[in-house]
């Protein structure tokens, strides 16, 4: 009685398993390569002397593994000349794939009505703007660019260094989709960048 029952059962089992394991094992595709436009691994600040376009001071922070656990490193701090006016330009890159570096600056420019840079700095480092920036409190920042709604963006800003001193300079990029207005502050939206550099004026 037992073999009568198990025999067709065994055949079926055999047949079905052959079917399965031949049918499904040849799928071995990898996910396609992605253009990672969200990750920023390199933040470069370029201060160009308004009087001398050849005089460019850069500051650099990198997080080479992006979403990995490795900490962000500030490789170059800011060193400015006293009593000099600079135009600060931001460059944001994703260098996770060294063969295919992505320019995130362009991304931000495309969506400038959703983005704004905020700055915090040690009081007395600059003569213009004065104060400690617009991160906490109501300090001024001299934005040189505007979005379509006439609100500041901050990819270009103007700074005049004071006399010799030291302090810190913090750059925050906020992403404020649907939240950015003339009165929106650093407290609205999510953070894309938050990096603090040492600053020296000499």
């Amino acid at each position: 009685m037992f073999s009568k029952i198990t025999k067709p059962f065994a055949y079926l089992l055999l047949g079905l398993s052959v079917m399965t394991f031949t049918a499904c094992d040849d799928d071995d595709d990898f996910p396609e390569e992605e253009n990672d436009l969200e990750v920023i691994t390199r933040v470069t600040l370029s201060f160009t002397n308004d009087q001398d376009a050849g005089d460019v001071v850069t500051a650099l922070a990198v997080d080479p593994d992006g979403a990995g656990i490795q900490d962000l490193e500030v490789l170059e701090n800011i060193v400015l000349k006293a009593n000099t006016t600079y135009t600060l330009e931001m460059e944001l890159l994703n260098e996770l794939d060294p063969n295919d570096v992505k320019d995130i600056t362009a991304e931000v420019k495309d969506e400038d009505d959703e983005h704004q840079f905020f700055f915090a700095f040690t009081e007395g480092v600059f003569t213009t703007p004065t104060g400690n920036g617009n991160v906490d409190g109501e300090g001024e920042v001299n934005y040189l660019d505007q979005d379509g709604n006439g609100n500041p963006v901050g990819l270009e800003t103007s700074w005049t260094a004071a006399t010799a001193t030291t302090g810190t300079f913090r750059v925050i990029l906020k992403h404020q989709p649907g939240l950015k207005t003339a009165t929106s502050t650093v407290n609205e939206g999510g953070t894309d960048i938050d990096v603090t550099f040492d600053i020296t004026v000499e």
């Binding site: 089992l13 390569e33 436009l37 920023i40 996770l96 906020k174 894309d192």
Partner: protein, 798 residues
């Protein structure tokens, strides 16, 4: 005494049926027997007329609802059940099916009279504690989630992300430790994390049963905490064309649903067809709008059954297409934003009410096609099931490229099952089965982000045997199962280099149960093992989801200095591939003394290599400090008690006391586990105001107190981590960003009326409009739960 007789009869007739196979040529040897119960209270109905259509034979049920018609010449026939005050039914019966149970509904009931031929998949797990959801609860809240409906069972609750994504949690386990079996096939969806709820349309559900014991022997890996069995339309033969139109309105969310279905059963074939649409806008907490918490869902289902002399063939299809909003205020960039959101009394983003679903949201289409055949042979019944599922999921986040999904996955699931349920061999009854399971997960291109989980294929073959042994007053159940699975993984690192791996795991699973009855008592006990392979998300997760960075078991390691490293993808050679193994012992004691029905169940569940996610600190990134989480594994113990005590205070007034207690711990590290359900106490009252032949009015009230979760991990404020007040390392005990919220008391009520073909119900949830936070809702960090909700349902039957 009656029970004794019942069991004796059952054994006698079981033997008798097995004899049929041998003596098939003789005439007029067939017998049908069964039992008739009231669908509402499951009490036997005496004096029900059972008649064979077209013949003079028939019977009447006894005091215990049993009936028996003997000396039948045909193996198949139509039976008509009728009784004054109840809806009659015609049932097409064939000799191969087990003793049918007829659940009769009163003329005024919203339910229909139904015939259950066998208890289906639960059949071999009487010892594993089955709880069924009253189909009336399903009918009145079709706009809610499966998790929400299941939570009315003691010991079952749900973990949630907001008001839309809700996963059932049984005895402290959820996600891929609870198996959801939809119409006999395991639901194939992105079952990882708490972010993904099963796509089940409640309008297409006729029955829900929860197996709280380890029933992995029958259903396979992942059934560590229990199994949720969802059954759709049974497609009964010989039923006239009928249908129902349901509509509902909800005040909170200013939306509602509408659904319709029809069914017809002829002599040889039957079908059903249905569909529904649900739309809800932003929900409202007592003090503010929960911005971006709406929901939209379209569901369609259809099925056809063809009955031939020795069997049945069925084909069915269902689609659930949903768009679920996630609370806007839960998304932020870095640790400092998180601190601000945690510290805020009210959500940081509150906007005016809107129906619009904006990022963050999830959009999922789940297609399910099933072909099934039953073939009755002299030795037993063969079941062949093929289920194909296509789950397409897109998740959208608040980001620069918000119009592109951040997660875009397609999951194909193929399930082939062959089972043979043998006729009784002496006192034994049982089944053999073989199952093949294939799953193929692919990332669709164009997300603009490195895939969070890789592409993978899992192929599994399984064999099982279950046997039950009936003796007077006692029933034994024994099951053994073997599984072997191979997984191949193909992914990309963040620099777009590829990686791949292939690994396999096998396991044997065992289950033993006993059901013993004496006088008004029934005792059941079940011991079962269960297992599952760590899923691909637990092994390979890498990167940012929401406000945190997550690293899977094979994506991080600690160097000699105890520092976390994520620069290498590990394999089983670096870090062993250990399956999660569960050992669950479940006991239940039932006492049924007319007006009192008491049900106490106690359980103990030990899980080896329990995988969980825990915070490991903050890492500084371009975005500022980000909370980092790793997947870790330890042994964990879960134990608890569930109590239900039903009392009929008078023929009109009925009360149910429910309570649930759970204690769980990481026993390796002797520390609490995170996100475990808090204990609660509830009392439900229902009062039948009046009942006539054509109309009925019932009032209901329910009260529930949920305690604070006293065994929650300690609080570590992320501000203290950012400021370096607290140092986190490999040995830091588990912590959470906020302590568990306070306990809360909720009150609800309902008025339910029936008149001819119409049924209406007005219910109120959170009647006191209480502001509270639910420990099991991840949104507790940021916002209160929804406030008062008035729900009006009107159903019309034809």
């Amino acid at each position: 005494m009656n029970y004794k007789l019942g069991v004796a009869l059952l054994i006698f007739w079981s033997l008798y049926f097995s004899a049929i196979g041998i003596a098939q040529q003789q005439n007029c040897i067939y017998t049908v027997e069964g039992r008739v119960l009231d669908v509402e209270n499951r009490q036997p109905i005496p004096f029900v007329t059972v008649r064979l259509l077209g013949e003079s034979k028939g019977a009447v049920t006894d005091a215990e609802g049993y009936f028996q018609v003997r000396h039948l010449c045909e193996k198949e026939f139509n039976l008509r059940f009728s009784c004054v005050g109840y809806k009659p039914i015609v049932h097409h019966h064939d000799g191969h099916h087990a003793m049918p149970t007829i659940y009769m509904a009163t003329d005024v009931s919203q339910l229909e009279t139904v015939v259950i031929e066998s208890e289906g998949e639960e059949l071999f797990f009487e010892s594993a504690t089955i709880d069924k959801i009253d189909s009336r609860s399903l009918a009145i809240r079709p706009a809610s989630s499966l998790g929400e409906v299941l939570s009315e069972i003691e010991g079952v609750s749900f973990v949630a992300i907001g008001s839309n994504v809700q996963l059932p949690i049984i005895h402290g386990l959820y996600g891929n430790r609870i198996l959801i079996v939809n119409n006999g096939v395991r639901h194939g969806f992105q079952n990882w994390g708490v972010e993904h709820a099963p796509e089940i349309d409640l309008n297409n559900v006729e029955k829900v049963a929860v197996l709280k014991g380890a029933a992995a022997v029958r259903f396979g890996p992942e059934a560590m905490g229990g199994v949720v069995l969802v059954e759709g339309n049974g497609m009964e033969l010989s039923t006239p064309l009928s249908g129902m139109i349901k509509t509902g309105l909800e005040s909170n969310g200013r939306g509602g649903y509408t659904a319709a279905n029809i069914q017809y059963g002829g002599d040889r074939w039957s079908y059903h067809l249905g569909g529904g649409y649900t739309r809800l806008g932003d929900r409202h907490a007592p003090d503010y709008s929960l911005t971006n918490s709406g929901k939209e869902e379209v569901a369609v289902n259809a099925g056809v059954r063809f009955h031939f002399r020795d069997g049945d063939a069925r084909l069915s299809y269902s689609l659930v297409d949903q768009k679920l909003a996630i609370l806007r205020t839960s998304i932020f960039g870095n640790g400092e934003d998180l601190i601000r959101a945690l510290d805020a009394e009210e959500p940081l983003i509150i906007q005016d009410f809107s129906y619009e679903i904006k990022p963050p949201y999830q959009s999922t289409a789940h297609h399910f096609l099933k072909a099934e055949a039953d073939w009755n042979r002299p030795g037993g019944v063969w079941h062949l099931i093929w289920g194909g599922q296509w789950n397409a999921r897109k998740e959208f986040d608040v980001r620069r490229n918000a119009e592109r999904p951040v997660i875009d996955l397609e999951l194909w699931t193929n399930d082939l099952q062959l089972e043979w349920e043998h006729v009784t061999w002496g006192p034994f009854e049982g089944a053999f089965g073989v199952q093949l399971f294939m799953q193929d997960n692919d990332n669709n291109p164009g997300t603009g982000t490195t895939p969070f989980i890789p592409n993978y294929n899992t192929n599994r073959g399984s064999v099982f045997v279950i046997e039950t042994l009936e003796r007077p007053h006692i029933r034994y159940e024994l099951g053994v199962r073997g599984d072997y699975e191979v997984t191949s993984v193909r992914g990309r690192e963040t620099n777009q280099d590829t990686f791949s791996n292939e690994y396999s795991l096998g396991n044997a699973t065992l289950s033993f149960g006993v059901v013993k009855s004496f006088m008004d008592w029934e005792f059941r006990s079940n011991f079962g093992t269960a297992w599952r392979a760590p899923n691909v998300a637990e092994l390979y997760s890498f990167g940012q989801t929401g406000y945190k960075l997550s690293y899977g078991l094979w994506r991080y390691q600690f160097n000699e200095d105890g520092q976390l490293q994520t620069n290498k993808i590990l394999t089983e050679e670096d870090e062993a591939l250990l399956p999660e193994k569960g050992y669950k012992w479940m006991n239940e004691l039932k006492w049924d003394k007319g007006i009192h029905q008491l049900n106490i169940s106690a359980y103990l569940n030990l899980i080896e290599n329990f995988v969980y996610e825990r915070p490991i600190g903050l890492t500084s990134t371009v975005r500022g400090p980000m909370p980092a989480f790793i997947y870790d594994r330890n042994d964990a113990l879960f134990t608890g008690v569930d109590v239900t005590w039903k009392t009929s205070w008078s023929p009109k007034l009925e009360g149910v006391l429910g309570a649930s207690y759970l204690w769980s711990r990481n026993i390796d590290k002797d520390e609490p586990l995170i996100n475990q359900p808090p204990n609660y106490l509830r009392y439900d009252l229902s009062y039948k105001v009046w009942t006539t032949e054509k109309a009925q009015l019932i009032l209901g009230a329910d009260a529930q107190y949920t305690f604070r979760q006293y065994h929650a991990p300690q609080e570590v404020n992320p501000e203290d981590i950012v400021n370096g007040v607290v140092e986190i390392n490999e040995d830091t005990p588990i912590f959470d960003f906020r302590e568990a919220p306070d306990g809360y008391f909720l009150l609800g009520g309902s008025i339910n009326g029936t008149w001819k073909n119409w049924t209406g119900q007005l219910s109120v949830y959170n009647a006191l409009n209480k502001s509270y936070r639910n420990y099991l809702n991840e949104m507790r960090y940021f916002a209160d739960e929804v406030g008062r909700n008035l729900v009006l349902n009107i159903n019309y039957k034809f």
